[in-house]
């Protein structure tokens, strides 16, 4: 299993890998915000955490469609289906590798982008923490969408509409936790713990659903 993890990491960081495109897209989204909202620092600071979260969400959804498509096109998916290790675990490892390659960099680069939006250190720290807890959930949810994209030849187009309703709770709790850390009255812990709970919840549901869809796709 570690072999699969390391291979996927190598693949992602190699030439064609998706890691870099995720970060660049995130940078683009956040860089565009001040031009849209204007240079008013106070407004940017208030909007900061939400923008970082929306940027990270869109960036991680971007790279997900190729998660299983490449394996299917070169025939590796068939071999993976014939393994004794259950497919669910293989899918989980692939999601982990994909998150490490393209989710984690988003979290690491978010402080830099936070400065663009004139956020105080405390807000940057909180956003980073919530992103760290929330982005895995997005990858795990996206895995289901990616599995559908493999199952249906034309299914890839509608991955975002299928995944959107499931990602809304992650966004809600992520942003509310980030804001809670900044405004005194609102408690930080409850939304943050719920966010972690959602991530764990999808850690189970995501790979299981993706495995069923992939097996249906191999027919």
């Amino acid at each position: 299993m570690t072999a699969l993890f390391l291979r996927d990491l190598k693949l992602a960081t190699r030439a064609g890998g998706g890691a870099l495109t995720g970060i660049l897209f995130f940078l683009a989204v956040v860089a565009v915000v001040p031009f849209g909202l204007g240079p008013d620092l106070k407004l940017l600071a208030r909007v900061g955490p939400a923008m970082l979260w929306i940027g990270a969400l869109l960036a991680s959804l971007l790279g997900l469609e190729r998660l299983f498509q490449a394996e299917r096109e070169d025939g590796a998916l068939d071999v993976m289906l014939m393994q004794e290790t259950p497919l669910v675990f293989t899918v989980f490892i692939k999601c982990l590798a994909h998150w490490t390659a393209s989710g984690l960099p988003l979290v690491l680069v978010s402080p830099l982008l936070g400065l663009f939006l004139n956020m105080e250190p405390q807000a940057i720290g909180a956003t980073m923490l919530t992103l760290l807890a929330g982005t895995p959930a997005i990858t795990l949810i996206g895995a289901m969408g990616a599995a559908v994209a493999v199952a249906l030849p034309r299914g890839g187009l509608l991955v975002s509409i299928l995944v959107l309703p499931l990602v809304v709770p992650v966004l809600i709790f992520g942003v509310s936790a980030a804001y809670a850390a900044v405004e005194d009255p609102a408690p930080f812990l409850p939304p943050f713990l719920i966010l972690i709970a959602i991530t764990l919840f999808f850690a189970v549901i995501g790979p299981a659903a993706a495995a069923v869809a992939l097996r249906a796709a191999s027919e």
Binding site: L4, K10, R14, D74, G75, L81, M82, Q83
Partner: protein, 216 residues
């Protein structure tokens, strides 16, 4: 109990249209089966059904005398499809190293899996000895097919399912494929190959797929 592969009344269909019906065969250890037939008569689907990748709607596939009866059939099979299951960005050695570790049956972990050693041997066996360091994308179609064949050698599985093994191969490589098949059968393995060219596989059973011409 000698190692055997038994298939009884196997049938599969796509939606409502049947692809093949009532295929039964018994292959002893060291046995081989050549599947021939016109295009579109279901050769590949037959192999994918054997591999468990395509749902059969009738019949059974059993492996008798295997080490552990509870293990599902597909885990003692190697399936070589039309596509090579290799990543273009990784080098040939990296690809084979990965497949060696990934398809390593868990019970083999007792003796240390010498993945690198097996990879080198496999590359030698298919005549790609010096090319381990090259990215897979640089290889010619024939070399890529030989690298795909090497994948069957890096991890031991008793039954080989090969779909057009000699595709994109020159005559010299075809002899090499026949040698590989003979070698695998010598160690008590079973080989099922779907092919167009006449492969010299002595003592192999023949199965011609008639396809299902629906009465008009």
């Amino acid at each position: 109990m000698p190692f055997r592969l038994r298939v009884d009344g196997l049938g599969a269909s796509r939606g409502e249209d049947p692809i093949f019906r009532e295929i039964s065969l018994l292959l002893e250890a060291g046995g081989a089966l050549l599947v021939t037939g016109r295009n579109g008569t279901g050769k590949s689907t037959f192999l994918r059904t054997l591999a468990g990748l395509y749902p059969a709607d009738s019949g059974t596939i059993l492996i008798e005398g295997g080490t552990d009866p509870t293990v599902p059939v597909r885990e003692s099979l190697h399936y070589l499809g039309h596509r090579n299951a290799m990543k273009r960005d990784l080098t040939v050695a990296e690809n084979l190293l990965f497949w060696s570790r990934f398809t390593q049956a868990t019970d083999d972990v007792a003796e240390p899996i010498d993945a690198t050693g097996k990879t080198v041997q496999a590359l030698e066996a298919v005549g790609l000895g010096g090319l381990g360091g090259l990215p897979f994308g640089y290889l010619s179609a024939g070399q890529q097919r030989r690298a795909a064949l090497a994948r069957l050698l890096v991890a031991h599985r008793p039954v080989w399912l090969m779909d057009e093994p000699t595709a994109a191969l020159d005559t010299a490589s075809e002899r090499m494929v026949e040698a590989l098949i003979a070698g695998h059968r010598a160690t008590g393995g079973i080989v099922i190959a779907a092919t167009h060219q006449a492969l010299d596989v002595p003592g192999a059973q023949m199965l011609t797929m008639a396809g299902f011409a629906v009465p008009a």
